[in-house]
Symmetry: C2
């Protein structure tokens, strides 16, 4: 075990897009576990749009990362030192381990990852928080039913690609919105979506009208902004709008753009509801079972976009906000 633990610590609260100078890359001693603790060597670090929100000051669904603290992140790796019965040396584990090479954990929020069932990165993707978010957001908050027209934004992204595939498995008609011809082709060819809308090329509102002539029953939103407004303009009666994220707004320095078409909720007696995956912690097993079966059956594809190099963290993170990732963005340590 190296005696050095490299960590990205938050140095400043970003204004707009995060930049390298918003972090300090520091070297800390590798921690030593006390009783009931273990140390994991991170192999893969999950990069998520939500991380941008965690860098901001102010009340949210989790406390912000403090200045000087290790940047919060999901990660997966191998236990290299342990005084915790459930997590022996050599076991694989996933949890909120931060943007660092080694993490000390008491096991809270951590779970074992069976590397024989699926490669470790999948435990940050379809079998991790990403999969849980897609599963409960679509089926619980969105209450998607067979026959529904489901539209998802950031559809080639980590959550979006799973939402669309789960909706297909459940018998819905699925339309994905993504940026660029390559992503749209992937939605149709790899994920089996019924239609794809390239927001960089198509008029999203017109395309939604064309692809959802009876209106949208479930709109799963990851982006906010103009695309949310376009979807609102095409809701069906009693539609459900799932607010999972708003990546188009996270780096705005001029405030969030509210959905001007929100009165469609009244016209369509529709609901717009926010979700945070932690609320479903007691039901993760249920989702993991279904997702695992679908993966094993080949009905669900988990695609990871893995970038090597721990040092590249600040720049790699930006791929999310530039829409450069295909599937789940993961940093390989």
């Amino acid at each position: 075990m190296s005696a050095i633990n490299r960590q990205f610590r938050l140095a400043a609260r970003p204004v707009g897009l995060p930049k390298r100078s918003d972090f300090n890359l520091v070297e800390d001693p590798v921690p030593v576990p006390g009783d009931g603790e273990f140390v994991v060597r991170n192999a893969y670090i999950s990069l998520d749009p939500a991380m941008r929100g965690w860098m901001n000051e102010g009340k949210s669904y989790v406390p912000p990362v403090g200045l000087g603290e290790v940047m919060r992140a999901y990660a997966a790796g191998e236990v290299v030192a342990s005084k915790h019965e459930k997590f022996p040396i050599g076991s694989h584990v996933a949890g909120v381990f931060g943007v660092q090479e080694y993490a000390l954990s008491n096991g809270k929020g951590a779970h074992l990852a069976d590397a024989k069932l699926a490669p470790l990165p999948v435990y940050l993707s379809a079998l991790g928080m990403t999969g849980m978010t897609a599963y409960f957001g679509l089926l619980d908050v969105g209450a998607a039913q067979a026959g529904d027209s489901v539209v998802v934004s950031a559809a080639a992204g980590a959550v979006g690609s799973l939402v669309g595939q789960i909706a297909k498995i459940k018998g819905c008609r699925v339309v994905g919105i993504a940026g660029g011809a390559d992503k749209c082709r992937m939605l149709l060819d790899d994920y089996g979506f019924d239609a794809a809308i390239d927001y960089k090329h198509d008029d999203v509102k017109d395309a939604l009208k064309k692809h959802c002539p009876q209106g949208i029953n479930v709109y799963f939103d990851n982006v906010g902004g103009d695309i949310l407004d376009a979807a609102l303009s095409q809701l069906a009666l009693h539609a459900r709008v799932v607010i999972c994220g708003a990546i188009s707004q996270y780096n705005s320095t001029s405030g969030v753009k509210g959905p001007a078409n929100y009165l469609a909720l009244l016209v369509c007696r529709a609901r717009m509801q926010g979700m945070v995956v932690f609320d479903y912690a007691s039901r993760y097993g249920e989702a993991a079972r279904d997702l695992g079966i679908w993966l094993a059956q080949g009905k669900l594809k988990s695609r990871e976009d893995i970038v090597e190099g721990f040092d590249t963290f600040p720049e790699t993170l930006l791929k999310l906000f530039r829409g450069e990732n295909m599937g789940k963005l993961i940093l390989k340590v």
Copy 2:
């Protein structure tokens, strides 16, 4: 029976606030009922913010009023000619009878009003669509429970004043938002609200923080705009936002202002849901029974702001948009 039926017909689609020239005051012969029809002489005409939306072109929850058609309105009056068994001459009746002195009806959507139980205007207010909207919006869409902090905007208006009173009856803590000291005094003294916020004088966001320190469980919105945004900033976990109307936006000529704080829905796992009272038609009896009992017990006050003079319709309607009415605005024919 006068041989002349005066009617306000929509002459032009208003831009911004409606004006007299957007209507034609025409004289038509009083209609004669055929089999299964009756004629009502309107005594009271309900003036509602929703009427502004009905004047606009485009898809909504009801078709727009066509140019040249009698302006749509709820009204109550007396049957003066009838070939309809259920609605004999002399009976009192309420329904969508339009801004005119006499209306022909086949009974669809009309219901008898027992003038012995309540004065006729109350059938346009607490016992009419106004009461149904408040009842189902608060209890069904808002799912208000005893102990909840309920906030309502346009709280001195027709729907708002009922929402607050019903919430009090149900054991909620009620905060009303209204414009001006007189209205706020009325909320506290006449309707028994726990707190009143004068949006023309107070900082609404600060006041909500003060009056709802644990957050807002149910926000019943009649206004949209900045007040909706202020309420979103103070939601409690799992809050319900009922979108009943958006009077601050109806006459906007620069587009609707979307709620910039809508991501509070995510942070608070809250839902925002639109409602249209027609959806509850099969349950009107349930609401009318409760509302009638509360009125009889003196627990609920139905306040009508009655303006005399059929001819004043275009100008009287504007009282709604200027916030000049106290309680339900009604035009006496």
